[in-house]
């Protein structure tokens, strides 16, 4: 088992990893930027090293500084969290070269599944259903030909990354040349890779993702699905497990296919396969995230597992003693609300000093957060303040519990999206479990 893990991240996920390290008896090193010197996980870590100024490029993305910090502290492993360097195969390769274990998949497995286009090829090989789509488009003419083969409407997407960049919905041949050019420009500026492909566009999809875990001894476990349809501009706002749209049969069938794909491509550690569900309830593979996800707690609540601890143990070469999860019954229902530092109406980010912070508690309530009263939220990073997670015996109970918890959540000094969450949890589509990725847009009256 590792003696010392360097946590190459910040905020709530750094604290999450630190908690797992504490419980596993592993020493922790927190690397941080100057503005995070008083962050909670920095204060709790066994050692802390300042790696740069506020700018992420000079601190949390600064590979030489992070590796140097690992060397001077004698860390034998690095946990990259999510975002930042977590899906950077080059960083994983450098860690290996320096004799430091990267807690995640191998660089090869990360590359194979991380690139959207090769992931689709992998998926097709193992029988994961795919939305009809194309390979990389060479020209506007090629794009038009492929769009006609797939059938309009189509969406152009970037090979090199997501988050809405390099995406364009195209409904006719006439729209294609301009959309193709602008999608390529956006992809180049966002990911240094202009490649785009096209895919059938579903008007009102649901976002369903499956959690997997694999050790280095051939063990692969699928841990159920999460529904993350409530999104704004391709950023998730509320997630839940299980999905109200899934049936036990569909879940089992998909789990089988996923297990084989993960096992036979030699993928290890945590991973999440993202799918789109169309209006008929059919699932189509979109992409795989080769890291721990923000919303992992909802899976933890319905399985009773500590995913980060399992991820660390798998990375250390342990054979995980989990039961066969193929017939697992998931326990109750969990919902997570992402509490962000933003104006609830305009969505403008709202950094600043938190003067009062009173998170909710009580039965079935969990709050994962790195902030506290007196913490100054810096403008340099994402706006996530806390994840409010509730568990209930049924979805209806979980919703009631979440409304109760949101009512107790007091934050002063900055603005948050708590009011947005309250509005979402009384919306009929959400309450009836019929939401799609267009739901928030309808409620807020704002487009993508």
């Amino acid at each position: 088992m590792f003696k010392k893990i360097l946590i190459a991240n910040r905020g709530e996920i750094a604290l999450r990893v630190l908690r797992a390290c504490r419980e596993l008896g592993i020493k922790s090193v927190a690397v941080h930027s100057e503005v995070d010197a008083r962050a909670l996980h920095v204060r709790f870590a066994d050692e802390a090293v300042c790696v740069g100024p506020a700018a992420a490029s000079k601190s949390y993305l600064n590979i030489p500084a992070i590796i140097s910090a690992a060397e001077v502290t004698g860390a034998d492993a690095i946990h990259p969290g999510y975002g930042f360097l977590s899906e950077n195969a080059e960083f994983a390769r450098i860690c290996a070269k320096c004799g430091i274990t990267f807690i995640g998949p191998s660089p090869e497995a990360m590359r194979a599944w991380g690139d959207k286009v090769t992931a689709r090829t992998n998926a097709a090989r193992f029988g994961l259903p795919l939305l009809s789509g194309s390979a990389v488009l060479e020209s506007a003419e090629h794009a038009i030909a492929e769009a006609n083969r797939v059938g309009y409407p189509v969406i152009l997407k970037a090979s090199g990354g997501g988050g809405g960049r390099g995406m364009r919905v195209v409904r006719s041949d006439a729209e294609m040349p301009d959309s193709f050019a602008s999608a390529r420009r956006e992809a180049e500026s966002g990911f240094k890779n202009p490649d785009v492909y096209c895919e059938r566009f579903v008007e009102r999809p649901r976002h369903i993702e499956f959690q997997v875990l694999a050790d280095q001894h051939g063990g692969v476990w699928t841990l159920g699905e999460r529904e993350c349809s409530l999104q704004r501009r391709h950023q998730k706002v509320i997630e839940e497990a299980p999905s109200p749209a899934m049936t036990a049969e569909r879940r089992q069938a998909m789990a089988e296919v996923i297990r084989r794909a993960v096992r036979e491509t030699g993928y290890t550690s945590l991973g999440t396969l993202e799918f789109l569900m169309d209006e008929r309830g059919d699932l189509y593979f979109l992409e795989m995230n080769t890291r721990v996800q923000v919303e992992h707690p909802v899976t933890e609540m319905v399985t009773g597992l500590d995913l980060v601890a399992l991820q660390i143990r798998a990375a250390a070469g342990q054979k995980l003693d989990l039961p066969d999860t193929r017939n697992w019954h998931f326990r109750g229902h969990a919902i997570e609300c992402r509490i962000n530092a933003e104006d609830p109406k305009s969505f403008a980010p709202w950094p600043g000093l938190i003067t009062e912070w009173n998170p909710p508690g009580g039965a079935g309530v969990r709050v994962d957060s790195g902030v506290y009263g007196g913490w100054r939220v810096p403008p340099d990073y994402d706006s996530l303040l806390a994840k409010l997670i509730v568990h209930g015996a049924t979805r209806a109970e979980a919703i009631i519990r979440m409304r109760r918890a949101l009512d107790e959540f007091i934050v002063s000094g900055i603005r948050t999206n708590i009011e947005l969450h309250k509005a979402l949890l009384v919306d009929r589509e959400v309450v009836e479990g019929r939401m799609t990725t267009r739901t928030i847009e309808r409620i807020t009256g704002k487009g993508h």
Partner: protein, 162 residues
């Protein structure tokens, strides 16, 4: 506006937060001028972050207020206000005072240095990086310990400017 330390401290924080370089206020016979030395962008081993506060002297005022302003000015200059420069580490790494284990250190307390003169080496990822003096002056303090690891922004030397 009375010049007590708590208010001055809150004022400094507000100015830093809003990234204001200079501020002047006059009220009730007291004039306060505060200016911040902003670090030069791209400075290698120079000021690692916000420079020291310099509190301007107030116009004639009551004794209590002048004493408070003087006290504030004193604590500002203790922190290298204007005539000294703190050299901070631009990397995470190991700090070495000599070019090699047997060689004498690059500088000692009392050494006179010129701009561009090597002060120390910081080893990061097997690369030796020489840290140079940004100004001419005399080394008055050596904060970091030979062979020990240093983090980004950590104080290494104080140089009294010539």
């Amino acid at each position: 506006m009375s010049l007590d330390l708590d208010k001055l401290s809150a004022l400094f924080e507000l100015l830093a937060e809003k990234d204001i370089a200079e501020f002047e206020h006059e009220e009730g016979g007291v004039r306060v001028r505060v200016s911040r030395q902003i670090a030069m962008p791209g400075a290698m081993a120079g000021m690692g972050g916000v420079g020291p506060w310099v509190v301007g002297s107030p116009s004639p005022a009551g004794p209590g207020q002048t004493a408070a302003a003087a006290a504030a000015a004193q604590s500002a200059s203790d922190d290298a206000a204007g005539d000294s420069l703190d050299v901070t580490s631009p990397f995470v790494g190991s700090f070495y005072r000599s070019p090699s284990p047997d060689a004498p250190p690059f500088v000692e307390v009392g050494s006179v240095v010129r701009p561009g003169q090597t002060l120390c080496i910081i080893e990061a990822m097997k690369l030796m990086n020489e840290i140079e003096a940004e100004c001419a002056g005399t080394v008055t303090e050596i904060f970091a310990q030979n062979g020990k690891s240093v983090e980004y922004g950590q104080k290494l030397f104080r140089i009294k400017k010539a």
